[in-house]
Amino acid sequence: MVELSVEVAGLRLRNPVVVASGVLGVSVGLMKRAEDAGAGAVTSKTVTLNPREGYPNPVVYELDYGLVNSMGLPNPGAEEMGRILREARRVLGIPVIASIGASTPDEALRIAEALEGFDALELNASCPHVKGLGADLMSDPDAVYGIVSALKSSGYRVFLKLSPHGDYLAVARKAYSAGVDGFTAINTAKAMVIDVYARKPVLGGVVGGLSGRAIHPIAVRVVYELHREFPEVPVIGTGGVEGWVEAVELILAGASAVGVGTALKRGFEVIGEILGGIERYLRDEGFPSVESIVGLAHK
């Protein structure tokens, strides 16, 4: 049989399907459902130091080919999330990745210390960034360097989640020189929806993030570029993975694992469908393992 398990930055996952940040909220029960459905790892909602209520409704708009959301990073803050993640690790057998949002090294360290229960951190570089007047970390490579360095010095395993905006390769380079363990790419693309009869932006946050099928070709591009420039740095390829084809495409582009988010709108069964498809593909095409096809499109 083909080998589905993968090693990502020293983490052994039973398979490459990682539930992306956001969809499982702050619920241990949902994390458990994802594990039961077959996921290789789960990522928490982005944790900030203090609780955030998020943006007012509407927070999502469904398109035929994706989803636009402006959740606004609601989360109960680091202290409460620490309790939740410790419970998650008690209940789950698969690795738990804690997504964090921080503007400074100190803030990041305080969040990491409060959380405690995780196998890796994922720094959300699209988190609202105070220093940059509300811009995000994607426009401040030096800030990313500082935060990643601080987390690495404290011994954490750190992924950097990149958005497709700004000079993401410059940000990645800084994170690389700070010793980042891996990249997650991509976050949502900034987008907006106006209802033509209401003649108003729909989302409470006005600007939202586009996810799903629509951004898949953008994700493939970013993952391909990251793998070309940092072949030894693992990437969790995320963006429009609706089925096994998109998952394999990202793996061929260079992803060691794939993130699944918006697709879960159709139910947790999607995880099994993706895994089944990857397995069939590997078998039919004569590959022994997921790891044997990582980055093959560069050959």
Partner: protein
């Protein structure tokens, strides 16, 4: 799935802080009893409302004033005005009862009215227990009388019908009533007692839960119930009794806007 703009054909005052809106739909929603819609007031906000009825191109919604957006709706959305609706969302009630007892509290009676119409239309016997604070707060009673075989009303101050809570009245009429299904909607502490009682008696029971709904389509986790990770917005809002009793959250916790579990408000 975008929004449907719907004209407000009629607004009825049902009780203090509770109004019924009859909306004209440009396309039928095909909603089922127990499902809900999200009502968007552009520039103001969006909130979930259980469907209280859909017939032809008309959608009936009962809106209780609870916050900024529902307050705006009560004050500023009049007949001839417009609201924006997406849905129907979630999973509704199972409709296979032969003799059903419906237990509603306050505006929780609204989705049960739609259920009563459907069950009764399908040939089932439908009885209803409706509890309110007082006669002034009683709502939809006459509508229930048109479709249900028996309608019993309880008020806490005794100003109408039975003096006491809906649970008190339920305890009287449920035993020996020969019901094969119980449906309930209202305050969660009320529903918790009804559900427990029905499950003990071996009668199938379903309840419709209320939580803060953000996305409405199961992708944000804001309404997840522990420890099963059931999402009120898409796995529910209607759950069966056994499932509910296996949850830590039922009757005890909900989540605030940040996602933190906090004790249920009384």
């Amino acid at each position: 799935m975008g929004y449907t703009r719907a004209r407000v054909a009629e607004v009825l005052d049902l009780a203090p802080s509770v109004k019924m809106y009859i909306l004209e739909l440009s396309r039928p929603f095909g909603s089922q009893p127990g499902q809900y819609v999200m009502v968007w007031l552009p520039g103001v906000g969006e909130f979930p409302v259980s469907v209280a009825g859909e017939k032809g191109g008309a959608l009936r919604l009962v809106v209780a004033r609870k916050g900024r957006a529902t307050g705006y709706m009560h004050e500023r959305v009049a007949e001839g005005g417009y609201v924006f609706v997406r849905g129907p969302l979630g999973r509704g009630f199972r409709l296979d009862a032969r003799k059903a007892l419906l237990v509603g509290g306050g505006y929780g009676a609204a989705p049960l009215l739609y259920l009563a119409e459907r069950l009764s239309g399908a040939g089932a016997t439908v009885h209803a227990v409706l509890g309110f604070r007082s006669r002034e707060h009683a709502l939809l009673v006459e509508d229930f009388r048109r479709v249900a075989g028996e309608v019993w009303v309880a008020t806490e101050d005794g100003s109408e019908g039975f003096k006491g809570t809906a649970v008190d009245l339920f305890e009287r009429v449920f035993p020996g009533g020969g019901y094969d299904a119980v449906y309930t909607c209202g305050k969660e502490l009320m529903m918790e007692k009804v559900v427990r009682r029905a499950v003990e008696a071996g009668v199938r029971v379903q309840a419709s839960l209320e939580r803060i709904i953000k996305c409405g389509v199961g992708v944000c986790g804001a309404c997840a119930l522990e420890p099963l990770g059931l999402r009120v917005c898409s796995d529910g809002p209607v759950f069966d009794g056994e499932t509910l009793l296996s949850l830590e959250d039922f009757g005890r916790y909900w989540r605030d806007h940040s996602g933190r579990r906090v004790p249920l408000p009384p």
